[in-house]
Each structure stands twice: as C-alpha cells, then as structure tokens.
Symmetry: C2
Subunit: 407 residues, 2 copies
C-alpha cells in the first residue's frame, strides 16, 4: 500500500464531466489499496476570468485582494471533486489551503510555503478519507490572510504536501503525455522523456517548458520526492522526474527550452566605478523583480560600462521605473528596453562529462545567422538570448544538431 499525491491541473477539471473522470481515476487508485491525497487547480479559464474582472476594475489591483479573489477557484474544484468521489462510494473530504495547513509567508500573489501543518490531512487519511486539497493557496502563519503561490502554484502545493506527509510519490496529471525534449509545436518529432533528473527538469522548467512549475521542482529536489508527469486523458506512463542516476549522463542534451516572455534592459554608459552593479540590482531586487541574466560590458566610449539584464515581461513596467531611477542616480546615459527577444537553452546532466557542447551550440546558431545577444551558462545548461523572430528556427536546428529525435 502506497501513499500517493495526485495533482490535477485546470484542463483536467475543466468541467463537471472532467471532474467526474478525475474522481474515477482517484477511486481506481484507491481500489488498488493506495491512500490518496488529491490537489486540484481551478477549472481552466476560471482564474483568467477572475483576473480579467480585476483588470476591468484596476490596472494594478491590490495583491491582497487578488489572493482572496483567485483562491476561490480551487475551493470550487476541491469541493466538486470531493462530491464526485463520494458519488462513487468512497469517503472524501475537501480542504482549503488553510484547512490543509499550508502556511506561507506574507508575500501576496507569490507567497512561499513556510511549512505544512499536515495533522488534519493525516487524521482524515487515517479515518479512511480521500483528501482533496485546494491547490495554489495558503494562509499566513498568524492565520489572518489568504495567500496564493503564483502561477502554477498547485504543482508546488502538491509536491509540498507530498513531502510533508512523506508520500511515496507525487503524480502530476496534465493535458500532455509528459515532459518532451522540446516543444512538439515547434519540432513535430520531439520525443517524450521517460526519466529525467531533478536538476535537468529544474533548468527546463525555469527556462520556459511549461509542464511543471519551477519552484515545485526545486521543492521536490530538496525533499527527494519523485514526480511523475502524466496525462489525465490517457493511461500512458508519463515522465519520471527523480534524482540523477548513472545512465542519465549518457545523454548529453536532455532537452531544449525557450522563453519568449523576457525583456532585456540595458543601462547605457554607467560611469564605471566599484559597486554600481550592486546599487542597481539592490534597487531591482527590493522591488520584488526577479532578474534572470546579467551581462556587464565596457561601453563603446571605453570609460563607462553598459549593464544588461533580463526580466519577465510581466515585470517590464516595474523594472523600467526602477532602472530609470537607478540610471539617474548612477549618472548613466539612458535605459534601453527590448521585449522582442527570446531565450533558447539546452539542458543536460551529460554536459558535465562532455566538452564542446557550448561551442557546438554557438556554431549551430551562427551557421543559421542567428545573432547571440547574451549568454549564460551553468553546469548543466547553456542559454542564449536571441532575436525573438528566430526562436523556432533556433530550437529546430539545435534539436537536429544534438540528435534529440534519436533517444
């Protein structure tokens, strides 16, 4: 008998019939003797509808209110899912984020889980209930405020609950068959990955592969919680995300990701003296803007520096305010913004054991006349910022160059 967490995303609970199908899947697992905790997202479209309502009212809606607003969608699906499981003759109980003991910090709209006080889940499991937890939401330590975990936060709810109750694994049900080596919309022959390390998945997730939320992968890695990503529309085995093992290194490049939602800021002609970067990025960080890549060059005039960085386009407006203020304070010439860029990245734990991967990537792009604006690397990843126009081309030629269709 295993203890398993199931997580169902928005398309998996899109309507009453889909909710019933989810209940059927959960009940089948329970019939096999497993104890099940289910995490559900809002019905697909619901969260966007509520966001749209809020934006019809205010261009910058108060984030505390947004959390109260948006947390309602998951409550609806958790209650409906519990009802559907009961209708199949099993005991079920839905729990809100608060009732499930999901304690977060106080940063509205992107709260971090501080801890999970899972007594109530464990007690109800012992009493024979299937538990359905509203994903995406939590409550502050003092119990006063409702928080949400940011886009894709239900994945994090699932992994965190799985870790807290010491589950055997966390199964993330979605509308695709698993994690692909790259976007099948761009490369038709893209293969599904059977097994991938946490580290690779983390890079792929943070680079824009939208199957799993980044923080949920971090959390799973930290707690060594195996994740299975699979379809709620089929019985195929999906992709296992787990800790690195020997045979993973045979694959040099596991996947190719891209992210078009990036904006590049360049602070031009910053007088070159110690501490300017610190001053700039302190200002940016204190505005809760997450900076991705940073590059500093000597300017064309030789006496000052150009500092470039990228942020998510959703932060463009805030980042522009902050960097224009910083530019004035630093005595810089101006701030350039470019939203027509994308980041293309190759990922693989095998890179650690193979040389020449970076140069092969740069050569492949150069060979197709794709100019590289920024580069950033880690042990298992190489990212290039390029003109957004060439995104699909870059993904395709890299997929070819690294033989990804062959695995």
């Amino acid at each position: 008998m295993a203890l398993i967490v199931h997580k169902y995303g928005g398309t998996s609970v899109a309507n009453v019939d889909r909710v019933k199908a989810v209940a059927g899947r959960v009940v089948n697992a329970a019939r096999r003797g497993d104890k099940i905790v289910v995490i559900v997202s809002a019905m697909s479209g619901e969260t966007d509808k509520l966001i749209d309502f809020a934006h019809q009212i205010s261009s910058q809606p108060n984030e505390r209110e947004m959390d109260l607003l948006l947390s309602s969608g998951e409550r609806v699906t958790s209650a409906l899912t519990a009802l559907a499981i009961e209708a199949l003759g099993f005991k079920a109980r839905s729990l809100t984020g608060r009732q499930a003991g999901i304690i977060t910090d106080t940063v509205h709209t992107k709260a971090r889980i501080a801890r999970i006080s899972c007594d109530r889940i464990l007690e109800a499991l012992d009493e024979g209930y299937i538990i359905v937890v509203a994903g995406f939401q939590g409550i502050t330590e003092d119990g006063t405020e409702v928080t949400t975990l940011g886009r894709g936060g239900s994945d994090l709810s699932a992994v965190a609950v799985a870790a807290a109750i010491n589950a055997d694994r966390c199964e993330i049900y979605t509308d695709v068959e698993g994690v692909y080596r790259t976007d099948p919309n761009i490369v038709a022959e893209a293969q599904k990955i059977d097994k991938i390390s946490f580290e690779e998945m983390l890079e792929l997730a943070s680079l824009g592969a939208k199957v799993l939320q980044t923080r949920s992968v971090e959390f799973a890695m930290k707690n060594n919680m195996p994740i299975i990503v699979r379809s709620s529309f089929s019985d195929n085995p999906g992709t296992l995300v787990t800790k690195e093992d020997k045979d993973m290194e045979d694959v040099i490049v596991s996947g190719i990701a891209y992210d078009k939602n990036q904006a590049r800021f360049t602070i031009v002609h910053v007088p070159d003296k110690p501490g300017i970067a610190a001053q700039l990025f302190n200002a940016v960080a204190s505005s809760d803007i997450i900076v991705d890549m940073i590059v500093q060059n000597i300017s064309s005039d030789g006496k000052s520096a150009d500092i470039s960085f990228t942020v998510q386009t959703s932060d463009t407006k805030k980042a522009l305010e902050v960097s224009e203020r910083a530019a004035r304070e630093l005595g810089a010439k101006k701030v350039d913004v470019n939203e027509d860029i994308s980041k293309v990245s190759i990922v693989g734990v095998g890179m650690k054991a193979h040389s020449g991967v970076a140069s092969k990537m740069f050569q492949t792009l150069a060979h197709h006349n794709i100019n590289i604006m920024m580069i950033s690397t880690s042990e298992i990843k190489i990212s290039c910022v390029i003109d957004a126009t060439f995104t699909e081309l870059a993904v395709r030629v890299l997929h070819d160059a690294f033989d990804l269709a062959k695995h």
Copy 2:
C-alpha cells in the same frame, strides 16, 4: 458621522460594471463622512451555477462540501468590490466570513450565527478602511469548518454585523425600490411602504414577500437595528423597517402577502383521544419539517378528528412519509395531500386597535366566491389558505377592500 452597513444582493453585483456602480455608491457615502461596512452576495446566477454543478455530480451532495463550494461566490464579489472602491481612491479591504469573525453553529447549509467577533472589522475601520465582507458565510467556533447561512443569508450577515459593530443603520440594496404593500406583479398600483414595523415586516417576510430574509428581520428586531430596503439602481429613499411607533397604528393593514409554495396535509378520521396531535407533530418536528398552520376538526362521522396542517412544498415528500407512518400508528383512515393551495395574508399593527378586520377579510373573499380552507391569526396578521387558482384575485380584492392604494 454615522456608521452604516450597506448590503448588496446578487443583481446589484451581477457583473463588473454593477460592482463599479456599487463602489461608486459606497464611496459617495464615505465622502459624506460616514464609516461604511459593505456586505456582498455572490454575483447573480453564480450560486445557482455551483448548485447545478453539484447536482450534476450527486442528487444529495454532502452538505459540508456544499458549504465550501457555495461560499466561494461571495469571496469573489467581496474582493472585486474592494478593488473597485480602491480604484476610486479610497482604502478598502475585503474580509471572508472567517476574517470578519462571523462564528456560527455547525449545521451546514443553514448555520445560525452564534456571535460576531468583530475586532478585525473595528480595527480596520479605525485605520480608515472601507470594509467589504463576504456575506452568506461563517465559520464554526473551533475555526475548522466553513458554513453558510442558507438562502438569503447575506441579509442576515448584514444585520448581524450591523448589530455587532453597533451601526446606526443597515441599508439593504436590492433590485426593487423597497417593500411594497403587495406584489406589484399582481396589483399594478401597489404602493411602496415608507415605514414599517419589524413585526409587520417579519410577518410579510415569512409570508412570502421575498424582499428580506425572515431571520434577518428577526435579528434586526431583537437588536433594534433599523433597516432601510432600497434600490441599488436609483436614489429613491426606500422603505424604513424600524420599531413600532404611534402613527403606524393609523394604518390598519400595512400589506398583503401570499405564498404559493405550501402543501396541505389532512389526516382523515383520526380516533379522537387526548394526545393525538402531540404524537403527530412530535413525529413531524423530529424530521426537521417546519409546520406552518394547524387545524383540527371533528370528522364527518362525529367520532373522530380530521387534522390538517401546511408545510413548504419542498418538505412535501418528507412530510408525506412521516404523516403516513403516523396515520398508521394512530389508526387514522388516510392522508390527503393538496399542493394546489396558497396562503393569502393581511398584516398590520393597526389590527390590534381596530376590530372587524378579520370579518372584513372573510366577507371580501366570500363575496368573490373564494372558499377558505384554513384560517390562522396572530395579533397583527390574518392568513387564509385558499385554492391556488384564486391567489391573484384574492390579493387584488383585499388590496381594494382595505384601500391600500390610498396610503
């Protein structure tokens, strides 16, 4: 400077534009220097949509889950309303039932408010916030379970919060201009009532005038909290519901109500011995069925009794089971059920000081060949059960007979 509670029903917050209009109204009151607490219902149609979802899943959905499901609608409108007030430049904060300290008993789907722990509301008011509370919902004393207050429960939320914070008055905004002397759909010239006593309003509300929820009027009466019922679509003054005063007695009949959702049960030929009524109604009451009128007669055979009573048609099935079992146990002949009835009632505190009101009512009905099946009276009310076919006719002729268009 007054402290005022505003309550907006489903049609008043039916869409984003209506929510903005509500915010405008609230802000106007705040500009006049008043402190405002707003209670909101779910957007019209939302609660019914969720109930429909649940019934697609289960014919008898678990009531605990229903409460979690249905409480989401008011959370949405409370957050949107707070955002809309902020967009007009005022500080606003939404509170769920739990956050507002609305503590109830544990009876899911029709919980009663036990007390309101209103510290958080008062503190936020002191800090200059306009508070928006999600109506219809509360939380159990131990904080574990979400409850709802039953249909129309947001009225009760509003009155209870108004009493708890010692508000000057509670303004209930709806889609009609106030309380009418009778249903304007039946009597075109029906007049709006300017002022009515709690007692009269309670009779009218419980007799089927759907403007205010009965329990909210009871609560207001107990706490002497003046209610103003008015339209959220106009600036007209509406109807003041307040404690009885001298000039109210000048009006003999304040209003005429009717209720078509009644079923009449008759237990025929019950052997006439002491305690039979007690035995029957004990059985009915222990099944949570609320009995309205009761009449006991000697049967046509002279040796036994016929006992008739009315219940809401929603309880017909349950009441039939109970009364057929009771009929067998009592040795009665049979149980007759008639759902084609209605109850027509005249209400007025002035009745206490005037005689002949009842006979005028009976004569008026008789004059139009409307047969009276049952009669029940209180100090300020006379109700007659008649054939449902004659409901509209009865309302019209009584409206005429008591000169209600003249006030």
